[in-house]
């Protein structure tokens, strides 16, 4: 099996917001006073991760442990401070649903806008349009501005667009927590189908049951460091045990 994602010694450093200089005056004042140091904060510390092609990879950890940061590094949103991240293939990112949506536009317009953000051609979107609409079950609301949608409805559309193609890698950050259980089942089914077609899926979820049920491999991250990774059952058991203590 070949490697889909290789994360090597990745560290991600942030300068904490309270010291962020956003106006020239503040900047020079700080410079003059010799206080232009930042409070550094490492969201990721020396993380190694290898995801094989065809894996259904889960990431678990508490809030603020660095899961989302890691996903963003993989998706190319962040450039790691040190280390490297090599990705083979196309990525469909589902990091916070509806990132590319404009709430003032209608669902129909947003499907095209978001589709092109993900790099699809309009012709391809024309072909897939009905499939996307059917999957989201929102045909009657197609020409309503998105701001009048509920968050669950937005999530449906976003998921339908991102998975209308067969990406090499699907990154899913907490997406399943929004929809109702029927839609969640539908999403799981769609992800399984993609997986059978050779797509690699990375899933972040707070529901350890879901991760255990769906993933074959899991990594556990805590405070920016990888605690352990390996087969799902093993890591999940260790994670559960740690939670109880």
């Amino acid at each position: 099996m070949s490697t889909a994602i290789e994360v090597k010694n990745v560290s991600m450093r942030f300068n904490l917001a309270k010291e962020k200089q956003e106006s020239l005056k503040e900047y020079f004042m700080a410079l003059i006073k010799g206080r232009l140091q930042f409070d550094e904060f490492y969201a990721l510390k020396d993380v190694d991760l290898t995801v094989e092609k065809g894996d259904f990879y889960g990431l678990v950890g508490l809030n603020g442990s660095g899961k989302s940061t890691l996903l963003k590094v993989i998706a190319g949103v962040y450039k790691p401070t040190t280390g490297s991240c090599t990705v083979t293939g196309t990525i469909a990112p589902l990091i916070e649903l509806g990132a590319g949506f404009d709430m003032d536009l209608t669902a129909r317009e947003n499907i095209y806008l978001n589709g092109t953000v993900l790099g699809f051609t309009p012709k391809y979107l024309d072909e897939k349009f009905d499939e996307i609409v059917d999957f989201s079950e929102l045909r009657e609301f197609l020409d309503v501005p998105l701001k009048n949608y509920s968050s669950g409805m937005v999530a449906r559309i976003a998921f339908a667009i991102a998975t209308c193609t067969k990406p090499d890698i699907l990154i899913a950050d907490e997406i399943l927590s929004v929809g109702d259980f029927l839609f969640q089942q539908k999403c799981e089914e769609r992800m399984r189908k993609l997986l059978e077609g050779g797509t690699t899926v990375i899933l972040v979820s707070h529901s350890i049951e879901q991760v255990e049920r769906m993933c074959n491999k899991v990594a556990w991250i805590n405070k920016g460091e990888k605690i352990m990774d390996g087969p799902a059952a093993e890591v999940c058991a260790a994670y559960r045990k740690a939670q109880k203590e």
Partner: protein, 269 residues
């Protein structure tokens, strides 16, 4: 060398892949700009006409002495200056804020970041092209003759587009790190307006002002445009060089500054 060429090719391929995104963003901006307005896109034509009318009235009555006496067709003269300056101001101002505005997107998906300033500058150009209808209407209305040289006006227009793009990229980069730039640019643009020969002809002014104004690239774009449309003459070589040269220098500096810092953007949004 070969590796560099290959890198450039990849870069252009990436760019080509996102052409539809630019198209959709422009159409979004258009829809949102004219949404719920009865006249819609007609405002693109009406707005410069009305603005010029106001300025025309002001400079024909209150400040009549300021514009000198040598300008024959003041209405068209004014509108050309107004149109080109608006293109520059709109393009740079919108491009400047574009990266910040797209923060929600940039934080979640990987997209080449230069798309956003580029889109805003393109949008301003499209708007400007619509506004050219106002120019045609005014020329018919005032009985201004049409010359074939007017076709050459595409040169100052396109070079101004490139010039604005370079400036917009630079400003967008600077704004991410220092929000002050937005406020400074607003003031700067207003000052620049008075030094761009929009409502006066610098040739009729004293030597000092005339010399100073030649350092303003916008003066060259506006004057070159007027020469082809209003005077019916071809561009002079110095116009060709200055317009093209300023555009290239601006684009180069803008791209260089933008590329150098773009990886840090997301940490400052």
């Amino acid at each position: 060398m070969n590796a560099k060429l290959h890198k450039l090719k990849l870069y252009l391929q990436d760019f080509w892949r996102y052409r539809y995104l630019i198209y959709h963003l422009i159409s979004r901006d258009f829809k949102l700009k004219y949404r719920r307005s009865v006249l819609g896109v007609v405002w693109s034509v009406l707005n410069p006409l009305l603005m010029s009318l106001v300025m025309y009235l002001v400079f024909s009555s209150v400040f009549a002495g300021m514009r000198g006496t040598g300008i024959e067709n003041f209405a068209v003269f004014l509108l050309i200056g107004q149109l080109l300056f608006t293109l520059f101001r709109e393009a740079t101002t919108n491009a400047m804020a574009s990266v910040l505005q797209s923060a929600p997107l940039l934080r979640k998906v990987y997209i080449p970041k230069y798309i956003f300033p580029l889109e805003k500058v393109c949008f301003s150009l499209v708007n400007c092209v619509f506004s050219l209808a106002a120019l045609v209407i005014l020329m018919i209305f005032t009985g201004t003759p049409f010359y074939w040289t007017a076709l050459l006006a595409f040169y100052p227009l396109l070079t101004l587009f490139v010039f604005s793009l370079g400036a917009g990229l630079f400003l967008a980069m600077a704004t991410v790190f220092f929000r002050d730039v937005m406020h400074m640019w607003e003031v700067f643009c207003t000052a620049l307006m008075y030094f761009s020969a929009i409502f006066y002809d610098p040739d009729q002014m004293s030597g000092f002002v005339q010399k100073l104004i030649r350092f303003n690239p916008l003066y060259w774009y506006i004057t070159a445009f007027r020469r082809t449309v209003l005077d019916g003459e071809v561009l002079t070589w110095s116009m060709v060089w200055v317009c093209g040269g300023c555009a290239l220098v601006s684009l180069f500096v803008g791209l260089w500054a933008f590329r150098r810092h773009q990886d840090k953007f997301v940490l400052h949004l």
